[in-house]
């Protein structure tokens, strides 16, 4: 059954005949195992850039043999390891957007992550930072071109909290990792302070932010 037209962006592609199809694909030496491996890689990329999450590690046995035996053994990462992994996962996310970020912004992100996500300031019962939430923050930052956040933090649920400040307003947001943002704003004026709050899509939040920060 066809998907509804709104389900995905429509990309028209013109038809053109194939130049030629080889009769023996294996003449290229790509065996099924290789293609299967690369298919798996592709599948991973198709899943919204999720890194494999799990508590498995690979050990190589018999390294001096001509053929190595690889077995999978369960490993339970320590608290320190889990905090470190969460931090690395977010830095890898930054690297996925490296071409859209200046070296200064990347350095600021890494610095802020190291300040906030570390074993000293984290408790075992805390939810680890959500990489999806962090990716939403990166997407929004690139979309809005607002690289001047005041500070970042993480909520009890692991969502990233971000604050921006302008001459007349303070804006804070919780990126929930579902392409939506919870935000609050405090605006100062001669008549006193006004408060506002809302929940919106990432795109709509960019328009809201202009009201308070520009």
């Amino acid at each position: 059954m066809n998907q509804p037209a709104s389900a995905f962006p429509q990309v028209p592609i013109a038809f053109r005949p194939h130049a030629g199809v080889v009769k023996t694909p294996l003449q290229f030496g790509s065996n099924a195992e290789l293609v299967a491996t690369q298919r798996t890689d592709l599948q991973r990329l198709l899943q919204g850039f999720q890194l494999p999450v799990g508590d498995w590690e690979r050990f190589v046995l018999g390294a001096h043999d001509t053929k190595s035996t690889v077995r999978t053994t369960p490993v339970h990462p320590s608290f320190q390891q889990r905090v470190f992994d969460a931090s690395v996962e977010m830095k890898v996310a930054v690297s996925n957007y490296a071409m859209h970020l200046t070296p200064e912004t990347r350095a600021k992100l890494f610095h802020d992550l190291d300040e906030v996500v570390n074993v000293e300031d984290w408790y075992e019962e805390d939810a680890l930072p959500s990489a999806l939430s962090f990716r939403d923050f990166l997407k929004w930052t690139i979309f809005s071109k607002r690289y001047n956040w005041l500070s970042i933090g993480f909520s009890d649920e692991g969502y990233i909290l971000v604050a921006w400040k302008s001459e007349r307003a303070l804006l804070s947001a919780t990126f929930r990792g579902n392409a939506r943002v919870l935000w609050t704003a405090t605006r100062s004026s001669p008549e006193g302070e006004t408060y506002a709050a809302g929940e919106s899509t990432l795109q709509f939040f960019e328009r809201e932010a202009r009201l308070y920060l520009d």
């Binding site: 389900a7 592609i13 790509s30 290789l34 592709l42 890898v92 490296a98 997407k139």
Partner: protein
């Protein structure tokens, strides 16, 4: 980790790593040398709207107009060879990395898997050749319109 800072720097790191590896594991028989680049191309949806995707990418799927005049997510993989170098090229629409953009994957794996000399100089000469083939496939696979976006 990205950002990719160019082939020269990359291959110098790989070469140093390989030297470390051989110190520990010794010189092993090589069965495959590959240079694989997984490119993600982010194109604003407003630029794609109502426009033939072939104006950006020259490697994709072919579909007759009688079937449909538009297409959603797709993936395609093809094996071919360029001057004795084997190539597995894959192209797909993937989850958009940016807001109001469409992301395309253009994955190029250039490799050789037979008659590989174990000599160090020969290995890096092959790597250089693979890099050239990868560049050739990438440049042939995109249009000037997309190339302009990298500047």
């Amino acid at each position: 980790m990205a950002p990719y800072e160019g082939w020269e720097k990359f291959v110098s790191t790989v070469s140093a790593n390989y030297d470390e590896f051989t110190k520990i594991a010794g010189r092993r028989t090589l069965t495959r040398i590959a240079s694989r680049y997984i490119n993600r191309l982010d194109i604003p949806t407003e630029e794609l709207e109502g426009v033939d995707v072939l104006q950006f990418l020259r490697f994709g799927v072919a579909m007759p107009d009688e079937m449909s005049k538009s297409i959603g997510p797709f993936s395609v993989a093809a094996n071919f060879s360029v001057d004795e170098v084997k190539v597995l090229a894959q192209c797909a629409v993937i989850a958009p990395a940016l807001l109001n953009h469409l992301s395309f994957l253009f994955d190029i794996d250039a490799f050789i898997d037979k008659d590989i000399s174990p000599h160090k100089d020969a290995i890096w000469a092959v790597a250089e050749r693979l890099h050239q083939v990868k560049n050739h496939v990438f440049e042939a696979g995109i249009t000037d319109r997309l190339r302009e976006r990298f500047k």
